[in-house]
Subunit: 355 residues, 2 copies
């Protein structure tokens, strides 16, 4: 599974389960928007007795349960507000993430009192996960910035795209940045192709994405600088002679943070199958963050990937230095820039045409 | 999850993954029967574009993949043999087991080249797992002898059903045996009620069950004696003063092995919703078994449950003695009796009436 990112499993102090509060802050801001959009765009003309919902990139919770509950509430409200309250469907909810995700922890933490049948779906959301025309509502939160893979050539010193000394495109030459952007375009297309096949006609796809403010260039995304702090930590270890520079050169994070117009551009290429119901930036009221908190947050996300490349000993050393690198970055003007934490919301509807 | 049995996870030497060959022997004998029955009984009149299959009590594989492949092959054959080969559906396969099952290992071992979309479903199959009228073919292999719970009173010394000194009903008074049989009846009813709601009209339910030969009494089932060998091992530890007898008295395995007529009796109580398409005993060509092999097999199944009650130290001691107890039993006439390893096959079809 080249490039796949799997969150820390279990329920321990370093688990994603205990370190996903930042995502929750982003979700809080987006949930009302998601619920209102469902209310506006959901079509009950062709209603069925089973309403299938998927959360793609669910990890282990609790955020995924929070989202699912809100989506179900919005659908139920739509039924209540129409003339078919007695016609309310049964909900079948599919929780998807990579094969390496900790589904055991996800299943153990499923709410015991839930108004839906639950299933887990292992696999990359850049490919088909469900039968054709089987899903009524597909959702993905804060996952689509993870690419399928690091773009070709980025870790090859003979390539024009070689990203020497860095693990992201935060401070890279334009051609490297473009390689990441092109990969994002390809990947979002793969994602939308699969979803447009899986959705029933009239079915909805909701995406909450980490991005950057419109009008800024990719290296201006705050999230990419935050992640590059890990590269700075690794570079220090090179300077200290703990490891060779090739160990850093041969590692990159498969990640990209788009502007809204870039998302729109890809969505437009699917206008034969999908209509854009809503597409907008959202501000996240994240307030003042603490470097230790942020470090634990990123560790829960990145430890597995970092460890696979650097091994357990170097990984410990890198994450030891990480909070200090974050602290330094958080004192810069780049971090303090307003509008920095932009994320995006997109809702699209499957047209009633054969795919 | 009172009484729930969860197979050993992972892929290590004591895992179910590596110790489920005996179940495979039982399945080999039943697969042709299952395939032929699907061919005979599957109704393509109301065919849909998605064909949903569930395996209930799947554990971690590889047996569950073996069964699923055979079922899909049978359905495809049915399409090929009719006038609708171009109408072949997409397959959606649901793998179910208890919440505590090792779904991570199951998902990692999913065949990479498979002709179906896969999902895992956590939860007891004695309750609803899927939306109403959503499943075309439900299957359960060698799982239904596990009861929801140990019958009430069996581990209570003030009850007429107290099963003193034993962990199964293999050598128990009639009232204890009847308590286990009644629990089996209740549980199979719960199972059938849930399935009759989940199946589409015309949908099929296939059950491969460990049982005992028709005309024998419950304590004559060979499987129950094999399991009671574990109780004999525990009793030895009581005699040696390693633990008190109350530790054995307060433990029973939630298990029952029915005769075909008992299965039929429960199925008949659902004749308003289900028709019996096939119901028969099957002989398993298991040949001569080795006590060490059998011990490893049962350890993969029972270790978790035994350890939860007895703790890790006593569990090791019990399983150390277990092969010797098995060896002794395998030299008795009871073990050598022909027809002993009977298991059963049942195929039922959902009627086209509201549930």
């Amino acid at each position: 599974m080249e490039g796949s990112i799997v969150m820390n499993g279990g329920e321990g102090p370093k688990s994603y389960f205990r370190n996903s509060k930042l995502q929750k802050i982003f979700l809080d801001g987006a949930m009302i928007l998601l619920m209102n959009s469902i209310e506006e765009s959901l079509d009950l003309k062709n209603r069925t007795k089973i309403f299938s919902i998927a959360d793609l990139g669910c990890s282990t919770g609790p955020n995924t349960f929070f989202c699912v509950n809100h989506m179900i509430e919005a659908v139920q409200q739509k039924y209540d507000n129409t003339l078919c309250p007695d016609d309310e469907p049964e909900f079948h909810v599919f929780f998807n993430d990579q094969v390496g995700n900790d589904f055991n922890t996800l299943f153990k933490s499923l709410p015991s009192k839930r108004q839906y049948m639950a299933a887990g779906v292992p696999g990359s959301f850049y490919r088909r996960l469900f039968p054709r025309s089987s899903m009524n509502l597909i959702h993905s939160s804060i996952s689509l910035h993870w690419l399928q893979r690091v773009p070709e050539g980025v870790m090859n010193k003979d390539s024009p795209y070689w990203n020497k000394g860095r693990i992201t495109y935060a401070k890279s030459p334009t051609q490297v940045v473009n390689a990441f952007r092109d990969q994002f375009f390809r990947d979002l297309k793969d994602f939308l192709k699969a979803r447009s096949e899986e959705l029933v006609p009239g079915g909805l796809l909701a995406m909450i994405m980490l991005g950057r403010p419109e009008g800024t260039s990719p290296p201006e995304a705050i999230h990419i600088h935050t992640m590059e702090c890990l590269g700075d930590a690794a570079s220090d270890l090179v300077k200290e002679g703990v490891m060779g520079e090739d160990v850093v050169d041969s590692f990159n994070l498969p990640v990209f943070f788009p502007a809204l117009s870039e998302v729109e551009q890809v969505l437009d290429s699917f206008k034969q199958y999908l209509t854009i119901e809503r597409l907008q930036e959202i501000d996240a009221p994240i307030g003042r963050l603490d470097a230790q908190f942020l470090s634990a947050h990123f560790r829960a996300i990145l430890q597995g990937t970092v460890c696979e490349h650097f091994g357990p000993k170097l990984t410990e050393q890198i994450f030891d230095k990480f909070p200090h690198k974050l602290e330094s970055f958080m004192n810069t003007k780049d971090f303090a820039r307003p509008g920095k934490a932009t994320h995006q919301f997109a809702l699209v509807k499957r047209k009633d045409v054969p795919s």
